[in-house]
C-alpha cells in the first residue's frame, strides 16, 4: 500500500547502540544515530567500514546483534515486512531481471509492493528518470547507466518515505545525476528521508544535509553541510583514516 511517511514519529530513523558481528568480525560497533524526516544523510568511509552493513540492517535484511533500530517508528526486528513497504532501496546491483523488459520488471515490483494503479505509476516513475523511450526494451539490452536509472525508478514505485542508497552512483552517467537526485529527493510536496553511502566525497558534499564518516563500525565524524567547508572535511576524513579507532 502506498503511504506517505507518518508524521507522528519524531525521527525517521532512530538507532541506539547498534552492534553487528559476524563469526569473528565486528562490522558495526555501538552506533547511535537519529535522522529527521526529510533529512538527507551522506555516509563516507573506507571499504569495510560498515556502510553496507548499516544499510542492510536498516533495510531489515540483516538483524542487529544488539541495539535498537527504528525505521519510521517501527522496530526492524519485529515489523520488518511493514518497514520494507515504506523504504526504497538502491544499490550498485540493480535487482532487475535481464530477460524481461523494463515494463515487465516494473510491473513485477509494483505487484511486490502492492502498488495500486500500476500502469499509471510505472509511466510516472519512468518519466521521472528519463527512460520513457526504452520502456519496452529488454533490460539486458540497456546500458549500465540506463539499468541503474531503471533501478532507481523501481525503488520509487511505491512512493517510499525513506530511501536507502548504497553507492547508487555506480555506472550512472554524470548528466543524469541531478535529475535522478531530484526524483529521489522529493515526492510531490514532500521531501524523502535519504541515507546515502558513497566513496565520492565531492558529490556527497553537494547532496547531503548532514555528513557522516564511518570507520571500523563507528561514527568518527559528524557535521552538517553548512558548518563545513570542503577542505576542512577532507582533512577530517583523511585524519580519521589514519587514526585507529
Amino acid at each position: 500500500m502506498e503511504r506517505p511517511g507518518s508524521t507522528s514519529q519524531a525521527w525517521a530513523i532512530e538507532i541506539q547502540g547498534l552492534t553487528k558481528s559476524f563469526s569473528n568480525k565486528l562490522a558495526l560497533n555501538g552506533l547511535d544515530l537519529e535522522v529527521s524526516q526529510g533529512e538527507s544523510v551522506v555516509i563516507f568511509g573506507p571499504n569495510g567500514a560498515g556502510k553496507t552493513t548499516l544499510i542492510k540492517v536498516l533495510a531489515t535484511i540483516m538483524n542487529p546483534t544488539s541495539g535498537t533500530v527504528l525505521v519510521d517508528g517501527l522496530n526492524v526486528k519485529h515489523n520488518a515486512e511493514e518497514i520494507r513497504g515504506r523504504i526504497g532501496v538502491v544499490t550498485h546491483r540493480t535487482f532487475l531481471y535481464s530477460n524481461l523488459t523494463a515494463y515487465e520488471n516494473l510491473e513485477f515490483y509494483s505487484r511486490m509492493y502492492d502498488v495500486s494503479g500500476r500502469k499509471k505509476r510505472i509511466h510516472e516513475v519512468v518519466a521521472m528518470v528519463g527512460m520513457t523511450s526504452r520502456l519496452y526494451d529488454r533490460v539486458g539490452t540497456l546500458s549500465r547507466g540506463m539499468q541503474q536509472r531503471l533501478s532507481i525508478a523501481r525503488s520509487l514505485l511505491h512512493k517510499p518515505a525513506i530511501m536507502l542508497l548504497d553507492e547508487p552512483e555506480t555506472g550512472l552517467d554524470q548528466q543524469a545525476i541531478p535529475m535522478l537526485w531530484n526524483a529521489l529527493e522529493t515526492e510531490g510536496e514532500r521531501k524523502r528521508t535519504i541515507i546515502l553511502t558513497t566513496h565520492n566525497l565531492e558529490r556527497g558534499l553537494e547532496m547531503g544535509d548532514r555528513l557522516l564518516i564511518l570507520n571500523k563500525g563507528k561514527i568518527v565524524y559528524q557535521g552538517s553541510r553548512q558548518a563545513l567547508d570542503l577542505a576542512g572535511l577532507k582533512e577530517a576524513y583523511q585524519h580519521s583514516m589514519r587514526v585507529r579507532v
Binding site: 535484511i61 546491483r93 532487475l96 530477460n99 515487465e104 505487484r111 502492492d114
Partner: protein, 223 residues
C-alpha cells in the same frame, strides 16, 4: 490473499523469463533425451530387458533432470542481486518459496509431459496411463518441495551444481524408490491397490517436506 498474489507474481515472472529464453526447458529436455538414448545403448534392446529397466531408467532421468532445472531456478535470482531485491520487498520469505516452487513444478511437469511420450515411443511401453501420470505428478511435487529449499541453499555455496546433487539425491532417495516400484507395477498392468503402499509413502513425503521446507526457507535465504 496478498500472499498468493505475490507468490503467483513470482511464478509468473519465472515463467515469463523462461518463455523468453527457453533456457531451462530446452537444456533439460536435451539432457533427458541424451540420458534415454545412452541408457538404451547400455541396456540393449530386448523387450524383456526394457520392461525390467524402464522404471528405474525413467526415474533416474527425471531425478537428474530435476537437479538441473532446480539449479537454474535460483541462478536467475543471483544475477544483479535479484534475490536481495525480493528480500527488501514487503513479501514474506514463505511466499518467495511458494512462488519459486510452483515455477519449478510447472517446468518439471512440462518436461515430463514431453519426455514420457518419447519414452513410450522409444521403448514401446504403456507409459501413457493415468497411473503413471499420478505417480509422476506426486513424485515431482516431492522433488520440488525439497529441491527448491536446497537449490536456494546451493546457489550460495562454492560448488553449486555439485552441492545440490549431493544434498538432494539422498534426501529424495525414498520417493525415487517408491516411484520406481510403483511405475514397475503400473507398467506390468497391476491394479491400483498394489500401487497404494508406494503412493502413500510419496504422499507422506510430499506433505511433510512441503511443510518443513516452507518453515525453514527463511533461514536459507537470510544473510
Amino acid at each position: 490473499m496478498r500472499f498468493w498474489h505475490k507468490a503467483i507474481a513470482i511464478t509468473w515472472k519465472d515463467t515469463l523469463s523462461e518463455i523468453r529464453t527457453r533456457e531451462i526447458i530446452f537444456s533439460v529436455l536435451v539432457f533427458t533425451l541424451l540420458v534415454i538414448v545412452i541408457f538404451n545403448f547400455a541396456f540393449g534392446t530386448s523387450q524383456e530387458m526394457m520392461a525390467l529397466v524402464a522404471p528405474g531408467m525413467l526415474w533416474v532421468t527425471f531425478a537428474f533432470a530435476g537437479v538441473l532445472s532446480l539449479n537454474r531456478s535460483f541462478i536467475l535470482e543471483k544475477e544483479e542481486g535479484c534475490l536481495e531485491g525480493l528480500m527488501v520487498s514487503p513479501i514474506s520469505r514463505e511466499a518467495i518459496y511458494v512462488g519459486k516452487m510452483l515455477g519449478s513444478l510447472l517446468f518439471m511437469l512440462i518436461i515430463e509431459a514431453i519426455a514420457l511420450p518419447i519414452f513410450a515411443f522409444l521403448f514401446n511401453l504403456p507409459i501413457l496411463s493415468l497411473q503413471i501420470v499420478i505417480i509422476t505428478v506426486l513424485t515431482t511435487v516431492g522433488f520440488v518441495a525439497v529441491g527448491t529449499l536446497f537449490s536456494a541453499l546451493a546457489v550460495n555455496t562454492k560448488a553449486r551444481e555439485m552441492v545440490l546433487s549431493i544434498l538432494f539425491l539422498p534426501i529424495v532417495a525414498p520417493i525415487i524408490i517408491c516411484a520406481v516400484k510403483a511405475s514397475d507395477s503400473a507398467l506390468s498392468g497391476e491394479p491400483w491397490s498394489s500401487l497404494f503402499p508406494w503412493l502413500r509413502i510419496i504422499g507422506a513425503f510430499d506433505a511433510i517436506f512441503l511443510v518443513v521446507s516452507f518453515l525453514i526457507f527463511a533461514y536459507v535465504i537470510e544473510e
